[in-house]
């Protein structure tokens, strides 16, 4: 089976670099599946889980604020944060979720509302990834 190199990079340093058979992720306008030999592509990612498939195994990674750069033999994911399930602080994510929910209920001005919404999305995404490991 052909493989492609996947590297995940964040401002705090590289998270992972390895060979995988397929990358599937959620871009801004729908799911994307990348196999080796894909044409060069750039796409922004939503706050979601990126699934890396290889060796009959799927590795999820929670990304936020990122985008995907594809070359025929290499996929680079640049994200503001990216965590594999073992790195996720579940307690912290849960607290963040509660905080965001509270703020959403309080309904303040637009900016705070939007920020709380993003925070909630990030927390839910982290919890999802952490639970499905």
């Amino acid at each position: 089976m052909k493989t492609l190199i996947v590297s995940v990079v964040t401002p705090d340093g590289p998270v992972l670099e390895d060979n995988f058979e397929m990358v599937s992720c959620k871009a801004e306008n729908g799911e994307l599946g990348i196999l080796p030999g894909h044409i060069p592509l750039v796409a922004p990612l939503t706050i979601s889980a990126v699934r890396l498939k290889g060796n009959n195994d799927t590795k999820p990674i929670a990304v936020n604020g990122g985008f995907l750069e594809v070359r025929p033999d290499k996929v680079t994911i640049l994200a503001q944060s990216a965590e594999s399930p073992s790195d996720i602080d579940v307690e912290r994510a849960r607290r963040a979720k509660e905080r965001a929910e509270k703020r959403l209920k309080a309904k303040q001005d637009d900016v705070d509302f939007r920020r709380a919404e993003y925070a909630l999305k990030r927390a839910i995404n982290r919890l999802d990834v952490a639970e499905n490991r």
Binding site: V9, T10, G13, E28, P40, V42, P44, T76, L78
Partner: protein, 287 residues
């Protein structure tokens, strides 16, 4: 001439100060190591990001985005990075002097500029002089994560997008080596010098959904990462400059102790000599 006891007290107190500065120097040295590592691990991210941004921005004429285009400057924002604590030699003062001078030279009224400041020292400096501070962040850890500064960078970039500011200049100490740092002013927004690094990537990309959308996501991220990069750079400078300052404080303390010891020994010898003279004098008087 100071008495024996006075000199002794001064020696002990100087010794204690020396111990402290020595300890601080070693702490800063280890922090500097970590800060250098942090700055290094950020490099792959920023390089990749720059490469993609440059290749998009240079791929066609239609790549237009407000963040790429210079507009008439009505309000300039200065993003100033200082430290929370002092005792770092000229680290803070040189940067604050540079910013202050620029502001005095370039602007007539307060409406033309604003300051965004990181670090307690800088904040106090600008508040005291009545310079408008739009945003501030203090209490950043010595080894900052991207998450620590993300809100501030996002808000700063948003200011530009909302056209509240028309130019963003970041002032920070660029880390050259452990003994030399340089005050650097860098224009972040609008993004102009994207051509660097464009030649490296020859591949043309497909864009999903389209170029404009991607630039909308990518450019703010790019600008934020530049600010974070400047912060990491200046953290390394801060530790380096504190290390150097403490090193020279320790050296000065050693010199002072040497001088004082010499004085002390002289004074002691003088006292002994005087005692002997007195005894000899007394004996001579008896004979």
């Amino acid at each position: 001439m100071a008495s024996l006891r006075d000199i002794k007290t001064r020696i002990t107190s100087t010794q204690k100060t020396k111990q402290i500065t020595k300890a601080m120097q070693m702490v800063s040295a280890s922090k500097l190591n970590k800060a250098e590592l942090n700055a290094k691990s950020f490099v792959p991210y920023s390089e990749k990001l720059q490469e993609v941004v440059a290749s998009i921005a240079n791929s066609g004429e239609e790549a237009e985005h407000p963040m790429l285009k210079a507009r008439e400057v009505k309000k300039t924002a200065y993003f100033v990075i200082t430290s929370d604590r002092g005792l770092a030699g000229a680290y803070n003062s040189s940067i604050l002097r540079a910013v202050y001078r620029t502001i005095q030279e370039k602007h007539q009224s307060e409406d033309e500029y604003t300051v965004i400041v990181a670090g307690r020292v800088g904040r106090d400096f600008f508040k005291k002089r009545g310079i408008p501070v739009t945003k501030e962040i203090t209490g950043l850890p010595d080894q900052p994560n991207f998450a620590d500064i993300k809100d501030l960078t996002a808000e700063t970039v948003q200011l530009y997008i909302d056209e509240e500011i028309d130019e963003l200049i970041v002032y920070f100490n660029h880390y050259i080596s452990a003994i030399s740092q340089e005050v650097t002013a860098k224009q972040l927004l609008p993004l102009t010098n994207l051509d660097e690094g464009a030649n490296k990537s020859s591949s043309m990309y497909e864009y999903e959904p389209n170029q404009e959308e991607i630039l909308n996501v990518l450019l703010p991220q790019y600008a934020e990462s530049l600010i974070y990069g400047a912060l990491l750079d200046s953290k390394a400078s801060e530790h380096a400059s504190r290390m150097t300052a403490m090193q020279s404080a320790t050296d000065n303390a050693s010199d002072l102790i040497d001088d004082l010891s010499l004085q002390y020994n002289r004074a002691r010898q003088a006292a002994i000599t005087q005692e002997i003279t007195e005894i000899v004098g007394g004996v001579a008087a008896l004979e």
